[in-house]
Amino acid sequence: MNPRETILSRIREALASPRAGATKSPPAQPIGSQAAAGFKGPTLATALSWRATGADGFKDRLELFQKNAIELRADFHLINSLDELKTRVKRLKASEGWNRVASHGGELTQAACAALDVPLLWTDRGYAAADLEACDAAITECDALIAQTGSVLVTSRTAGGRALSVLPPHHVVIARREQLLPDLTAAFELLKTKFAPDYPGFISLITGPSRTGDIERILVLGAHGPKKLTILCV
């Protein structure tokens, strides 16, 4: 038997002929025993709506997302035109003194990068990790924003790969208003309708800039990933 079959048959055996401890006392009833009988109760729905979602409309979602972004120490700006986007990005570049910026091909990223007068690294067709590491900022698009948690949903296919959104010290996300979803359930639904069965190799929910509390439980931003996360919603 190959190792796969060995383990699977061990599992089948354990499920088919269980033993109860070392004694003959009757087995305890597992608490969540509905599962074995094909659980589809209402509790799951209640449990999934675990937090206010702003499902009522764009304005609610926006308000909730903004509130979460503040809590997470991410910067969020609602942008009204492509011109305003360009101005925003230019201002960021000037205030932080960007010398090199990385991005990927996309309508919004290209528009934003065109306004920047700095050397650009495009990750689309492969790149050297050292070059990306030398960049001061990364500008990416995303798959969705999630109001419930203040998260940004990215995939390797829509945000320039796996490293672009985590290696440079400042991650700037450009999203469209219609990408603002109410909650996590909607985000996973979106992934299914958009990609199934051909999913990207990498999917991530980014919730605020990188952080750690490993030293005396004191919050420090920029542990290994970006120290800053800016979300621009066009």
Partner: protein, 463 residues
């Protein structure tokens, strides 16, 4: 020395370390406040726990089917799935990959399964350089000691301890500010990600429906470990399965809330394969190592298999009055705290590890806090019962026989209390000393004085 003796010795030492106790209690206080807030974010925390337990039970009761689906989907996208029956099998699989790639340097993100199979030692003995990238793990690796806590590895250290450690081990200027210290680690580890030949990660969930591993973290170190090196290896226990992608909509906030008190951790990433056609980066090879290592024997125990629901959030450790005072290393196990006491006897032998189930007041705080409703403190009792049934202690049996003999004979019992009352002042003189037969109890506690009068004597006086 037996595991039980080491446990007694070490826990005794740690309990007397007041500085450490203060540090740990302060950290737990911060966790407690955040955790309460996290629970209040849920419209119905209890419903979430029950739903999570049900989903996990479904996964566990159909583990063969879901695991098969998970592996098939992963393989379809070019991932190599390995099945490791034991820790030794898993080590052999990983060493083989490292040798085939002629690797030198390996970067790791936090993985309890790797601790469980003692992977670092095996890799280092085979000549590979292994670097832990999670800040807390990096700190304890520099100190060459085990993690204090499965979620907060360095919670027993002050910023000053860490500053001195970095100055000594990394040769950097002394620093004491948590931010500065974090930036030092960031700079050092950046180079390691770039230079590493292999990245090894653990996983929090395995999605059967889509064939993906889900990794939860805050720092971004796991994302870098998974993105930059040309080879990625993920080691996970077979019980990590979740049936559907959307189950994460419940489990990600549940894990964050129970683990750190956050609404959601910073990065929750799904990996479904190596670099795919048309993608700009990612590893050339992606290996997933599925680890059994006695999990199937826990699965066969119908009373205790629900312990396989565990999502390793660490909440029961934080709630446990024993853990809070003795810390993780004293347990001498990979998984410490209540859940460690419950599952270690299954993973490493009941008779050698039964003492952990006795080191509990059975207060039930662990059961109350568990986000997947594992009946932890009753499992501690079941372990005790199983241990005694399997191997009844001769002295203990005689002692109880004697006790039964005395209490079943009122005259004898009455005589015994009189003798004890008379002797107690004498006992006071030796209380807590080496010749005290009750020393394990009295070395740090007072014995209650025996009442001057029994109830019967008092009643007789009144009538």
């Amino acid at each position: 020395m037996s595991a039980a003796k080491i446990f007694l010795k070490q826990s005794g030492e740690v309990t007397r370390d007041l500085r450490q106790r203060e540090l740990v209690h302060a950290a737990m206080g911060k966790y407690g406040a955040a955790r309460t807030q996290a629970e209040s974010r849920f419209q119905d925390w209890e419903a979430a726990r029950v739903a999570a337990a049900d989903i996990k039970d479904d996964a566990i009761h159909h583990l063969d089917r879901y695991l098969g689906e998970f592996a098939n989907k992963l393989e379809a996208r070019g991932t190599k799935v390995h099945w490791a029956g034991s820790g030794a099998d898993a080590r052999e699989i990983i060493l083989k990959i490292a040798r085939a790639r002629k690797a030198r340097s390996i970067i790791k993100s936090k993985a309890m399964t790797c601790e469980e199979i003692h992977l670092n030692t095996a890799l280092e003995e085979a000549g590979f350089r292994v670097i832990e990238s999670d800040l807390g793990e990096f700190i304890v690796q520099l100190r060459r000691e085990p993690a204090f806590h499965i979620v907060f590895p360095a919670m027993h250290l002050t910023r000053r301890d860490i500053g001195e450690l970095f100055a000594r081990e990394l040769g950097c200027a002394p620093a004491e500010n948590p931010e500065e210290l974090t930036m030092i680690a960031r700079r050092v580890l950046r180079k390691e990600y770039m230079a590493a030949d292999i990245g090894i990660t653990g996983a929090n969930f395995a999605i059967a429906e889509t064939g993906m591993v889900s990794i939860t973290e805050n720092e971004g170190n796991a994302r870098l470990t998974a993105a930059l090196p040309p080879v990625m290896i993920t080691v996970l226990g077979i019980e990590k399965i979740l049936p559907r992608l959307e189950d994460l909509a419940l489990f990600l906030p549940l894990l964050a809330g129970a683990g750190t008190g956050q609404a959601l951790t910073c990065y929750n990433s799904l990996y479904g394969g190596p670099r795919q056609p048309g993608e700009s980066d990612g590893p050339e090879e992606f290996h997933v190592v599925l680890l059994d290592n006695h999990r199937t024997s826990l699965l066969a125990d119908i009373e205790q298999r629900e312990a396989l629901r565990c999502i390793r959030c660490g909440a029961c450790l934080n709630a446990c009055p024993v853990f809070r005072n003795i810390g993780g290393p004293a347990y001498g196990t990979t998984y410490s705290g209540p859940i460690g006491s419950v599952i270690t006897p299954h993973l490493r032998g009941l008779q050698d590890w039964k003492h952990l189930s006795s080191a509990s007041s059975l207060c039930g705080a662990c059961t109350a806090t568990c986000p997947v409703h594992i009946d932890l403190h009753h499992h501690l009792l079941r372990n005790r019962r199983n241990a005694v049934t399997q191997n009844p202690g001769f002295l203990e049996r005689q002692a109880f026989r004697l006790f039964a003999f005395v209490v079943n004979r009122p005259a004898l019992y009455s005589l015994a209390t009189k003798v004890a009352r008379a002797l107690q002042p004498l006992h006071r003189r030796i209380q807590g000393t080496l010749i005290d037969p009750a020393r394990p109890w009295t070395q740090s506690r007072e014995l209650q004085p025996i009442a001057p009068q029994t109830f019967k004597e008092w009643w007789r006086q009144r009538t």
